[in-house]
């Protein structure tokens, strides 16, 4: 880290190699679109590395980069939700009923067919269960149980009270169990 802050180019490369998989995986599981996840992961690294001089060593580097990655994914999901809400149905609809029937619903985005690679990578029961969680729960469960961050770190990363993080994770695990049990029946 210190070498990267001092402008040592191989240290930048090392940071990218060390964190590209975890950062990309988090974003990919949040947005469920490979190309988009790659763009957002790139944005994350560019933002972090361009601000490396302002990095505070008392804050864990992994917490910093995951915070920015998660923000990028959440911002995208919020924008997408707004875009979806602004669409009010097919322009060729001839009645309010047809307009309503053709209007995309919020769930449509997450349920759209994945391409072959995405389907293979994110098509398992546990991945589909994670995708059904609301984004805040999804962030918490991935940061806790896939990336192994402590509750305290997650609270800092997501700017949430510790109690809220605990509640989100507890509820997310309950929902995951329900989805998985439903999928197995």
């Amino acid at each position: 880290m210190r070498w990267a802050r001092d402008g040592y180019e191989p240290a930048f490369r090392e940071l990218v190699h060390r964190y590209e998989r975890p950062v990309f995986s988090l974003i990919y599981r949040m947005v469920r679109d490979r190309a988009l996840a790659e763009d957002l992961a790139q944005e994350t690294f560019i933002k972090v590395l361009n601000a490396i001089k302002s990095y505070k060593p008392e804050y864990k580097f992994s917490s910093w980069i995951f915070k920015i990655a998660n923000n990028a994914a959440i911002d995208h999901l919020r924008r997408r939700q707004l875009d979806t809400l602004s669409l009010d149905g097919s322009p060729s609809a001839r009645s309010p009923e047809e307009m309503h029937a053709s209007a995309p619903q919020l769930g449509d985005v997450a349920e759209s067919p994945l391409d072959e690679v995405e389907s293979r990578e994110l098509g398992g029961a546990i991945e589909r269960a994670i995708a059904r969680l609301r984004p805040e729960y999804r962030s918490c469960i991935l940061l806790r149980h896939v990336e192994g961050h402590s509750y305290e770190e997650i609270a800092k990363m997501l700017d949430l009270p510790l109690g809220t993080v605990k509640t989100y994770i507890h509820r997310a695990r309950n929902e995951l169990r329900v989805y998985l049990e439903g999928a197995r029946e």
Binding site: W3, R5, D6, G7, Y8, E9, P10, A11, F12, R13, V16, H17, E20, R21, P22, F24, S25, Y28, A37, E38, A41, Q42, F45, I46, L49, N50, I52, K53, E121, I126, E127, I141, H145, V146, K166, I169, H170, R173, L176, R177, L180
Partner: protein
């Protein structure tokens, strides 16, 4: 038996148990409470599934694309590879 031993495990304690970190005193509760044991077993199964999730790789030229867009500050010290 004291009150603590009789209290059901909290979600955090269940997580600690599933990862082998719960105190022996609280773990003892599971030998006497079928309800908590069932919850804990389900939780452990879920945590194992989550822990086994793979990490995906971005495209092979990801690092190059990133580094091409980063302003690397002028070196402020001497480092040797």
């Amino acid at each position: 038996m004291n009150e603590k031993l009789q209290t059901h495990l909290t979600p955090e304690e269940v997580e600690l148990w599933a990862t082998g970190l719960l105190s022996a005193a609280r773990t003892f509760h599971l030998t006497e409470c079928a309800e908590c044991l069932a919850v804990a077993e389900r939780e452990r199964k879920l945590l194992v599934e989550l822990a086994q999730l793979q990490r995906f790789a971005p495209s092979a030229d990801f690092a190059e694309k990133v580094l091409a867009q980063v302003r690397i500050p002028a070196p402020s010290g001497s480092h040797h590879a």
